[in-house]
Point group: C3
Chain length 406, copies 3
């Protein structure tokens, strides 16, 4: 019988090897194609969007390999595995979300500075969420999406030049470049759809059992499908003009379903729950783009890609859902998966209570928002140093500054 036991153990480790490989390739496509092309929607910032996305991600995956290892080193040796490469890919998403908030507003050197600082802060916050609060956050909606978004909004607020603020508080200066062209909207869809396709890989990459992995994939898939349908309906409903659809909603709010379900996708939320979460995310995101982003811009917090609507609010939504589902978690339902999903609870009842876990989930979310916002503001203020060559108003949203153009 020992041989049979070994067999099962081997099977599990084997399966996860394959799963991680598949998730790794999918996440890789999301980071480099997905984020890169999604940000090409600006009419004259495509080179910068693609180029800086690639540069930052390639830099961050190396830097994050080091930063994350500080918390996991054994005998002062850093082991590089497919799993640590996957985590490095996921960490680079944080930086790219922040890049989305300040897209077209920061110089290459400023982006470089922000990326390096942010990874260090994000790894610290990740350690707080995962190792101190032991919060469930399998798809990273708290520690990756919400963190990246509020770090970005903090930096965006801090980066504004005073002059811009006082002269034309309601409008971005080179307002004609802050928008899409017909072609740039089409190339942005490449990014958007590839993000959508591989999102189930992203959310399920760090699951701990086969059953958990299956739930994560199927729940993410259903939530994304529901958010997509909701986005089209809502975009038409809130339209300024005869029910016409808005490409900004289609490119972004469709993905909010993946963020909103992210932290709870491996829990027992049911197919109906997944669809409901997707609908909620689509609603939240479209309304955010339509009413909140213009207001934020007026208040001096530009958000070029609307990361608050795609990553910020849906990330908070997902964080609050973890509080709910942690409070409802029972060891009867989860069985041996309980520890896999909620690191500090266990199926023999010796770990945390559900209420205790729910409280920890809440604090993990709260700490993330505070750390990211404050971190973003401080980093943004530091990034205004003249040595990082801040952009003049007329240089914003323009490839001309950084690229040899044809």
């Amino acid at each position: 019988m020992k041989s049979s036991n070994n067999l099962h153990v081997s099977f599990f480790s084997y399966r996860f090897y394959i799963t991680i490989f598949a998730c790794f390739e999918g996440t890789h496509v999301m980071i480099f194609i997905g984020f890169g092309f999604l940000m090409t929607f600006l009419k004259k910032y495509c080179y910068s969007a693609l180029g800086f996305n690639w540069f930052l991600a390639a830099l961050v995956i190396q830097w994050a390999l080091l930063c994350q290892s500080f918390y996991h080193m054994q005998d002062n040796i850093i082991y590089i595995t497919k799993e640590s490469l996957l985590e490095a890919d996921i960490m680079s998403a944080t930086v790219l979300i922040t890049f989305g908030a300040v897209l077209g507003l920061a110089s290459g050197l400023q982006l470089l500075f922000i990326a390096i600082v942010e990874v260090a802060v994000a790894c610290l916050n990740f350690w707080l969420v995962a190792d101190i609060f032991k919060a469930a956050d399998v798809g990273g909606s708290i520690a990756i999406h919400a963190f990246g978004a509020y770090f970005g909004l903090g930096a965006s607020w801090a980066l504004r030049s005073r002059k811009t603020k006082s002269d034309t508080p309601t409008a971005t200066p080179t307002v004609d470049l802050n928008g899409p062209s017909y072609n740039s909207d089409v190339t942005a869809m490449i990014g958007s759809i590839f993000l959508w396709i591989y999102w189930p890989s992203f959310n399920s990459g760090l699951t701990n059992s086969n059953a958990e992995y299956q739930r994560a994939v199927i729940n993410t898939y259903l939530s994304l499908a529901a958010a997509t349908v909701t986005t089209f309906v809502m975009s038409s409903v809130v339209s300024k003009h005869q029910g016409r659809l808005d490409m900004v909603h289609v490119q972004n709010s469709t993905l909010a379903g993946g963020v909103a379900v992210g932290s709870v996708c491996n829990m027992f939320i049911g197919a109906g729950g997944a669809v409901a979460i997707g609908i909620g995310a689509g609603l939240l995101s479209v309304l955010g783009y339509r009413y909140l982003t213009p207001l934020l811009t007026k208040l001096g917090v530009p958000d070029t890609c609307g990361v608050n609507n795609l990553h910020g609010m849906p990330g908070i939504f997902s964080g609050l859902l973890t509080v709910l589902f942690a409070a409802l978690a029972t060891k009867e339902e989860y069985g041996s998966d309980l520890t896999g999903v909620f690191g500090a609870m266990s199926d023999d009842g010796t770990g945390r209570t559900a209420a205790n876990q729910a409280l920890n989930q809440f604090f993990a979310l709260l700490v993330t928002i505070v750390v990211s916002t404050v971190g973003g503001i401080i980093t943004g203020l530091l990034a205004r140093a003249p040595i990082l060559e801040p952009l003049e108003d007329h240089e914003k949203y323009d490839d001309e500054v950084n690229w040899e153009l044809p």
Copy 2:
């Protein structure tokens, strides 16, 4: 020895888990990137092509999960598995093929109505083909491709407005928008090539054994390669102008090899047979685009993407090939795969005869063509209801109607 047997059983089930995962991701790319971008070839209908493709597919995968389950429910519970998600993806292909036939000719509400009705009819027809006739159709060339194409042509014929028909019978009204631009032809190639790359996953996704799966992948690959070479040669041969190539052929006829081999790709057709089928499909498809589509348009059956040449005729070709290869099937050749490939035949000789299976294949094809054409015509006629906001002639092939444009 029991342990060893278990091992083999586990291996097989495991392998199929992986296969289905890989096929699922590949099919997902085909549906959302492949079909979506292939239809961006029209110069001013890219937003609608990408947007409606996404909306319809996201809606249909949810609706198809329900519709298909009616035939497979146990104890009134619907089980959602990776396999049922894969089948839902495949079902959405049917709707997207139909969308290709009426691209630019139907309003958003009409498309929504057609999609909802079509899925119900297609699930019924799928049940007839698979469960009543027990016909072999692993890649869905009969029940997906031919069905989608003739449903689309039926709807396209029924949707025409009378006025257009009598006034200008030979030309589409806003004829200047019914064509590509240089850029839109390039983005359409994204869709076309991704469809081509993942077609082996599509055709092999529902195979029942490892050997069958391998045959399906390799035969599809060879047929696609042969169809591609044939397409370039034929496009030059039938050219109106000094042997120049036509992008429409390159984008579409290259894929006809995947459709034509679809229903027989898991059978013993041999590498030579796969190449011959690909050559035949390439010929058929290019000649169809060159001579048949203009004729059909003149006869009042517009077919914007030429789905008759990519999915319709190659689907019928594939259906007829199943009749041939079913008639030739012997239990010596197929062994234990016989039941996997032909559901009602078996290797112990107790099932159908080869002749009987061939006859059932033929009827499955015939029924599919009749059900799809009649279903399409009726759905198209119903879709002319004013509440679904049919398009005026000047609104056709134009994003302006549906989208906020930059």
Copy 3:
């Protein structure tokens, strides 16, 4: 215990089945999307780049299946497996690299002729490298990348018309079409990034053990990341104009890390070694684009895509690295992987010595460069036959010659 042994054997064969499947799909994306879109950077040659890329690759994978089989046939039967399909895909890369050198300079018939001859010569050279010299070249940097590049430069030199050479030796005639547009540079990035993402699959596809496979993936990944960061820094450093970045470098030199690490990625080069190789490749490639390509063009060797900087010099670099790491190889470090990595060495000490292996690596590189350059020149001279319809100067870099344009 026999059952347990069988288990392990099965596991390994199983794993490789999966690995080959994943690598096959990744390589497929590289060949058809990657190379195809990378070459769309010319403003009016996108149709030809995508179309000829597809046509040539689809033809070559069939032709290479035959050519390669001549060296592996048993009982005069050609067995087609997933592995042989993967090798055929890899062989088509050789032809596509050559296509990059003469992009816009050769007619369709000339390309067809070059492709057919090149595959035969490349299979011969591959046999020399792999079976005669038994050289380590897992990622094909010697036999695929360097071969394709120098075959292409040879053909490019031979294809020039005399007249062009004497009249305007320093400039390509239709110089206004020999460059990108804003849109074509964006679509070229689709190809470039997909090549980058799946390069680890390409380099690891033909490894012989799990450990070797893991090293190949991780080393390639790190080298690519390092080359990418280096490319951005160097592009700014050598800029003609205020530190602006050049899209040509970003699209190409980022990938040089994958070529340079290719032949040694399965060896014990260490994470630091992989990063150092990537930095070296980025340096070499950017400097090549900035200073060497203009010089070569002046000397009568046009190189439209700069394949010398992406595939040629990094390929030689990788070849020289194999000499170094073969000389350093010990059976203590490699253990049972020694034979897998270096085919003629073995862990029981009965095979070649390290010095002997290093010498063979050097000769394999030398022979490849000679065979490819001479082969390219002869093929290019033959391709000037009027029956292959060489292009007039005014027809170069222009889709007009080959395509029905909108």
